[in-house]
Amino acid sequence: MTTRRRFLTAAAGLAGGIGLASVSRRASATPAAMKDAVRKVVGTATVRQGRVKLDVPPLIDNGNSIPLSVAVTSPMTPADHVKAIHVFAERNPLPNILSVHLSPRSGRARVATRVRLADTGTVLAIAQMSDGSFWSDSAQVVVTLSTCLEEALI
């Protein structure tokens, strides 16, 4: 026979299980996942701070559309130019945001777009130079209304 106490313990266990399940469904990247994604791009090279300027608002109401721009200080000559710019977010379900490939024909190493951010965390921009070096800049972003994981109204 099911006693009241047994029933309550079972119910609490079930509720805990549901809570755990819904937490795991909110799959969010971790700083480790971002490190892995960065490692895939840069390989064994070291990433230095500087030369890159990442521009993203520090406080965001709605994570669905955030203006983001990256500018890199470079003469953009055939001998010394930016080959690629990669942008990552620490707390998105997928840490990669964008990769752009530039050449001396670009003239200026600056790109701008609009991105989505799932949660408060670090945004990282890495520039790959023609000499093989990597430079980076990061920004702390606070997101009050998250995106990506909300329920669709369909």
């Binding site: 799959a27 669905n64 559309s65 955030i66 721009s69 977010a89 998105n92 379900p93 997928l94 990669n96 945001i97 964008l98 990769s99 752009v100 490939h101 530039l102 050449s103 001396p104 024909r105 670009s106 003239g107 200026r108 600056r110 790109v111 701008a112 777009t113 609009r114 991105v115 989505r116 951010l117 990506c148 994981l149 909300e150 329920e151 669709a152 109204l153 369909i154």
Partner: protein
């Protein structure tokens, strides 16, 4: 039918760095969302964007689900010769869209 808008200066001086803005109509469904019934909505995004200048590739971007709906891309290039700029977006579910613009370089 998806639409694309590109902003390219119609004239430029030789060697001048011009700024190009492109906007394309696309929902950029992330693949992480679910319906109210709990079914996962499959990913449907634009994967890549390529810009060619008189047939030569000058800019390429790889998009991930974190790019907002209706992707906007602002970038620059050196105006070398008069000709045509071709923009091409490709993505999931066979999405493909091209747009072109003419530029006169003096």
């Amino acid at each position: 039918m998806a639409r694309a808008v590109v902003s390219v200066p119609s004239t430029a001086k030789r060697g001048q760095v011009i700024e190009i803005r492109t906007l394309v109509q696309h929902a950029m469904e992330t693949g992480f969302r679910r319906t109210q019934l709990g079914e996962a909505i499959p990913r449907d995004i634009i994967r890549s964007f390529v810009c060619t200048y008189n047939g030569e590739e000058v800019f390429r971007a790889d998009f991930h689900p974190a790019i907002a709906a209706n992707p906007l891309m602002t970038f620059s290039m050196v105006a070398t010769a008069s000709g045509t700029l071709e923009f091409k977006w490709t993505g999931d579910k066979g999405f493909s869209l091209t747009e072109s613009a003419k530029i006169t370089v003096a």
